[in-house]
């Protein structure tokens, strides 16, 4: 295996060395339970408080508005479950067609249970219009859930406006901000979001830790029922090492956000310019203006995405695809289809997603091998116009 060029940071990120350091004491000597009466465990409650404050600071939230969970999916599921439990009689949910499976599959389950769900569409650039959300809200709507940034395209939704629309209509608003937290500035003291999901492993903390932001005063019912942890809002022994890791990762993200934006934007733009320059018949997908600075989603005509990924992988390059074949289903990306992209371009989409650890050498590597891979696959494809091969 050649050395790895990791450009799949929307899937997961490397754990930051600083984060590993922050965890280690809690994997070794500080193994106590923060809920214990004795000091050995009990003093760790203060450490948890510190991590909670670090994460709250990243979001412009109060520490008591943070509930630690096991992952983004649990946070999403909890938010929807709690909204329905605390608003009995309201049987309708508004969400979008481009949400993460953590939301979409829960919606399918709820539909079977008799709830009604409106899946609002998006524009060809991937953006969900606040007005479309307004029109979908009904008197019996319990909650609106719209992601902050899309995982496949990086497209940023107009969350401030959508949250405002929900507030005006008196409906709870949840956002899956798993891809946005740590990358875009989020100030929940200003944006009327009621609940927000995030995941540690997308911002250089380990897998297995997430959080749900719950605005003060929002009615809540726990999804995981157990002990009195998290102020009775989420049962389960505190995952001390992981919580400390998420706190450290949040502080790192807050400290470096501006510098990272500059560094990563430059790399991403170099990659896109290089691809467009070197490879004909390509399409950059999603809004140019309103998207995460780390994500590049591109589609190559006449070839199929899984084949591109397999050949990239041979060169040690990690990316991902919206193609059907790579997803384990037979249908290509629901996100790209909701944007109205033709099936053949959905099958051929590749996502490169950057982190702070990427360098110019990573971009060089992709630009070195990708044109040859696309040329070879187009040579194999029966649909490639001969003129394109000569070009």
């Amino acid at each position: 295996m050649p050395s790895v060029t990791y450009l799949d940071n929307n899937a997961t990120t490397a754990v930051a060395p600083e984060v590993v350091e922050a965890m280690l004491p809690y994997l070794r000597e500080e193994y106590g339970n923060p809920s214990s009466m004795h000091d050995f465990g009990g003093h760790l409650a203060k450490h948890i408080d510190r991590a909670r404050a670090q994460l709250a600071a990243l979001l412009g939230a109060h520490p008591d508005e943070i509930i630690f969970t096991s992952c983004g999916t649990e946070s999403d599921n909890t938010a929807i479950f709690s909204a329905l439990e605390t608003r009995p009689g309201k049987r309708h949910i508004v969400t979008t067609q481009v949400e993460h499976p953590a939301i979409l599959h829960q919606m399918e389950f709820l539909q079977k249970k008799g709830y009604e769900v409106t899946f609002v569409g998006v524009r060809p650039d991937g953006i969900c219009e606040p007005e479309a959300i307004r029109e979908a809200i009904r008197p019996d709507t319990a909650i609106v859930s719209v992601m902050w940034a899309n995982n496949e395209t990086g497209v940023l939704m107009p969350i401030e406006k959508i949250a405002q629309v929900a507030k005006e209509r008196g409906v709870l608003f949840h956002t899956d901000a798993v891809q946005a937290v740590g990358k875009v500035p989020i100030d929940l003291s200003r944006v009327p979001v009621d609940m927000l999901s995030l995941s540690g492993h997308k911002l250089h903390a380990p897998k297995g830790i997430g959080a749900l932001y719950l605005r003060r005063g929002t009615p809540f019912k726990p999804y995981i029922m157990g002990g009195h942890q998290e102020n009775g809002r989420r049962g389960g022994t505190y995952a001390v090492p992981s919580i400390m890791a998420l706190g450290a990762a949040a502080e790192l993200a807050a400290r470096h956000m501006d510098a990272e934006r500059e560094h990563i934007t430059r790399l991403r733009d170099r990659l896109e310019a290089g691809i467009v320059e070197r490879i004909p018949a390509v399409h950059l997908l999603g809004s140019r203006e309103h998207r995460l600075f780390n994500t590049c989603t591109v589609s190559f005509e006449y070839v199929e995405g899984e084949a591109i990924l397999l050949l990239l992988s041979e060169h040690g390059i990690c990316a991902s695809s919206g193609s059907a074949c790579s997803s384990g289903s037979l249908e290509p990306s629901h996100v790209l289809r909701a944007m109205g992209l033709p099936f053949e371009l959905c099958h051929a989409s590749i996502r490169f997603s950057f982190s702070r650890y990427n360098t110019d050498a990573d971009v060089d590597r992709v630009l070195e091998v990708l044109p040859g891979i696309i040329r070879n696959l187009r040579r194999i494809s029966p649909f490639t116009p001969p003129a394109l091969l000569e070009a």
Binding site: E304, S323, C325, S327, G328, P342, F343, P382, F383
Partner: protein
């Protein structure tokens, strides 16, 4: 999702054999489409005197296993007569590649279909099984017809809708055709039949006990099948006998032989004759 591809599959998608179009091709088969996510164009030059496939090339749009299946197909059929080539099943193709993930078996089915289309083209027939009266499209999303589904069920011993989707893609998107796939399965798979099985010809006597069934199967394998296989340096083990199926394992040369699906048919025929009732023979590796 990372697929567990065999080294041979990897070798064929990293280094596909026989890419391109045969000059002066006299047989062309095209299946699939860009919308569906995979497509294969197969061109052959067949010697009109001998019927031998002298050259075979392919162009494929699709995932790694689609490219590998196409490449393997061209390798397998070159030098065979068209008649021999048409006996190759999708299972033979998958076996040649040291197996495909079940979700990817439709790639091997596509290879076989392209070959049938090319043969029909060579013989001057339009390929859509027009000789079959009841030919029609079952799955609109992936444009899969009933004949493709029926062949996949028969040749691969499929019993569930999920398997049919893995092998043909039918039912993999909107799922509107699932009831029709279920009814095709009910018609073709004996244990799925709603009405009782028709009486086997010799069932006038008492129903056969499992002991007697196993005994007859063992005797037939020993006296009729194994002698024939040994001449080919191959052997056969009986693994299991149930109401539904007889399970065997090939050993020696037969294990890797691309024609062993043909051998399965041969075994099935011999067992049906000896038992006087329909039997399904399955192979495990």
């Amino acid at each position: 999702m990372a697929w567990d591809y065999s080294d041979k599959v990897k070798d064929h998608y990293l280094h596909p054999r026989n890419v391109g179009v045969v000059e002066n091709a006299n047989a062309v088969g095209e299946v699939g489409s860009m919308v569906c996510g995979d497509a294969l164009k197969l061109t052959l030059r067949i010697n009109p005197d001998t019927g031998i496939i002298e050259d075979a090339r392919f162009q494929t749009y699709g995932c790694g296993s689609a490219i590998a299946s196409s490449s393997a197909l061209t390798e397998l059929i070159k030098g065979l007569t068209l008649e021999q080539a048409l006996k190759i099943t999708n299972q033979d193709l998958a076996r040649y590649l040291d197996g495909l993930p079940e979700e990817k078996m439709h790639c091997s089915v596509m290879g076989r279909e392209a070959l049938q289309a090319a043969a029909a083209n060579y013989l001057g027939k339009e390929f859509v099984h027009q000789e079959e009266e009841e030919f029609h499209t079952v799955c609109q999303c992936f444009q899969v017809n009933n004949v493709t589904i029926e062949n996949a069920i028969r040749e691969n011993g499929l019993t569930t809708v999920e398997q049919v989707t893995h092998y043909t893609k039918a039912g993999g998107a909107c799922r509107n055709c699932v009831p029709e796939i279920e009814s095709i399965l009910a018609r073709l798979v004996p244990e799925k039949k709603e009405e009782p099985k028709p009486e086997p010809p010799k069932a006038a006597t008492a129903p056969m006990s499992m002991f007697r069934r196993i005994k007859i199967i063992e005797e037939t394998l020993e006296n009729e099948i194994r002698p024939a296989l040994h001449t080919d340096s191959g052997g056969l083990e009986l693994i299991d006998v149930s109401e539904e199926a007889v399970v065997v394992r090939f050993t020696g040369r037969c294990h890797s032989c691309v024609q062993s699906a043909v051998t399965l048919e041969f075994i099935q025929g011999a067992l049906e004759k000896a038992l006087g009732q329909p039997v399904r023979v399955r192979e495990i590796k």
